[in-house]
Amino acid sequence: MAQLTFREAIARGIAQEMRRDPAVVMLGEDVAAAGGVFKGTVGLLDEFGPQRVRDTPISEQAILGAAMGAAMTGLRPIAEIMFSDFFAVCWDIVVNEIAKSRYMTDGQVSFPLVIRSGNGGGLRFGAQHSQSVENWAMMIPGLKVVVPSSARDVIGLMAAAVRDPDPVVFLEAKALYPTKMDVPDGEIVDALGTARVLRSGDDATVLALGSMVPRTLAAAERLAGEGISVTVIDVRSLIPLDTATILREVARTGRLFTVEENPRVLGWGAEIAAVVTEEIFYDLDGPIVRITTPHIPLPAADALEDLAIPSVERIATTIAKALSD
């Protein structure tokens, strides 16, 4: 058992896989000598050397193109896109090339690769360095999308992502980088496509992802004090999506809330709301409520950013009000 920060867990998760498989290589801007701008890859260059851990130019299309070409010829690359906002400069490689090529070649090629990226707000970085893009990735056929919420999950889900034969977008909530937890020693390997029930209650099911998980747990705690008991599920994996767990809990509790950092329109919760409404409509006891960042670019000032992203307070009061209506 060791106390690990979320950012330390990234390096541990990657190291675990690089030790196991020489086909695992890593590339990105400032990932090698500097250990990553978020210090997520500290120590990897020293342990694995400059052939396996490589700094790149500021050329995101080249980074992901290289990862793709390497993946289709026998390697298992882990590429970093420093801030997830920058997916926009290499989106073609992600959505038109990596995501589609297996299908359009009738399965002749596979893309066992992981694209890591710092995602979301909370650091007062302004609109071009703070966006939550989990919904961008979720809607693209051919991409798996994983969003860990704790240091332990970072390791286990990273291992699962690296071992997966398909491309995985691995989004690290920047706001969580400094968070700490006790993590068991030894190998940790998790499974993609599995949500986790973090707390069980009867009045409603609340789904959260990434940075919203700790806030939702705190809100649930507060609600418990008011006599409201909710199930909290950490969705963890948007694609594949663990609808079995989600539908079971929603059906049991009769109410669904989502807590999302992405801007409101077509946030990940919209898909889940639509699935629920199609498949277990008659189990619902009331409206599905999405608690999200408003549909705006994220402002920079701390005072404004704090108003934008769902807070413990907003989560708790929204749920309490909806359940009392």
Binding site: V25, Q51, R52, R54, T56, P57, S59, E60, Q61, A62, L64, G65, A66, A67, M68, G69, A70, A71, M72, T73, G74, L75, P77, D92, I93, N96, E97, S101, R102, Y103, M104, T105, D106, G107, Q108, V109, S110, P112, P141, G142, P165, D166, G193, I239, P240, L241, D242, T243, A244, V275
Partner: protein
């Protein structure tokens, strides 16, 4: 640059093979066009008529396990690596016996077993991808080389720039082949490009030598490709080749190409790579009977491919949801 063949018999055998390849590409593309006129090619298609010498010359310089990265104009590069005609033609017709059983279409021909690592239809995107394959060869210590074909218009998109710099700094075993056919779709590339030679005049921006070659001369193409591939294999890094050529027809199936001045078209038709190369072989002593036999053989091959492709079944429901994921399926939830 000129052909510098020493007229050894292996060289001549290779030249005959390159001629055969060009004849095959010509015949295939012509047939594809005919089938389009019959409305059997359903989607779009982009022919390499007039540009055959490049595909044939480069392929002849590649080892069997080298990799080809092609574009939507990729029939020629696919066939030149030895992929049989039937599955390629059947793919154009959207049939189940197609190379990708109809799922990819004309613009995405791929045959991994022949080293054809895909045809890409978003301009420029496959240049970085080719870098990745080259990186993989470099890292694993195989001596494979990635060869990446693209057009003149492609030199103005961002991915071109990123890939060239990336390949140069990592000294990747990749050969970039720009087929300069003077035109994008309907716009002349020189009207939207700041330099006269869209690839060669930019080589220095990546620390590379400019390489210009007559793309209608398969021997010349073979020579520069051989040198570039040898350099790549020897760990000396990437090359950027600009091969000057012309497409005989329009950009894609529906385009008659009328925006091009008649005299330009005529001048280039007069430099048609096939008759020029045929004449060269004849002058080198290859008999008319041998050439005619080879041409007849190709004609038969095309007929057979046409028969087989036409006879192909339509793909069905079973394929629709297959192979999004490596497990063979497309489920995004449990």
């Amino acid at each position: 640059m000129t052909s510098t063949q020493t007229a050894g018999s292996t060289d001549l055998a290779r030249q005959v093979a390159m001629y055969r390849a060009q004849v095959a590409l010509r015949a295939f593309e012509t047939r594809a066009y005919d089938l389009f006129l019959e409305n059997l090619v359903k989607g779009t298609s982009h022919l390499s008529l007039g540009q055959e010498a490049i595909a044939a010359g480069v392929a002849a310089a590649m080892a069997p396990d080298d990799w080809t990265f092609a574009t939507y104009r990729g029939h020629a590069h696919t066939l030149a690596r030895g992929v049989p005609m039937t599955p390629v033609l059947a793919e154009l017709l959207g049939r189940r016996n197609g190379l990708m059983r109809g799922k990819g279409g004309s613009m995405h021909l791929t045959s991994v077993s022949h080293g054809v690592m895909g045809s890409y239809a978003v301009i420029g995107s496959h240049l970085p991808i080719a870098c990745g394959a080259a990186w993989s060869a470099q890292y694993r210590g195989t001596d494979q080389v990635a060869v990446c074909f693209f057009g003149d218009g492609t030199t103005n998109i961002g991915a071109f720039h990123e890939a060239l710099n990336f390949a140069a700094i990592w000294r990747l075993p990749v050969v970039f082949v720009c087929e300069n056919n003077l035109w994008m779709e309907y716009t002349r590339t020189s009207e939207v490009t700041a330099v006269a030679h869209p690839a060669a005049d930019r080589a220095s921006a990546y620390g590379l030598e400019p390489i210009l070659v007559d793309g209608n001369d398969a021997d010349a193409v073979y020579e520069v490709a051989r040198t570039a591939i040898a350099r790549a294999r020897a760990g000396e890094g990437p090359s950027l080749i600009e091969a000057e050529t012309y497409r005989h027809g329009g950009h894609s199936r529906a385009d008659p190409g009328t925006y091009r001045p008649d005299d330009e078209v005529e001048a280039w038709l007069a430099r048609d790579p096939l008759p020029m190369y045929r004449a060269r072989l004849a002058a080198s002593g290859v008999g008319e009977d041998e050439l005619a036999a080879l041409e007849a053989e190709v004609a038969d091959e095309v007929e057979e491919a046409t028969r087989e492709a036409r006879a192909g079944e339509q793909p069905g429901e079973d394929l629709l949801l297959a192979d999004v994921w490596a497990d063979g399926g497309s489920a995004w939830r449990n």
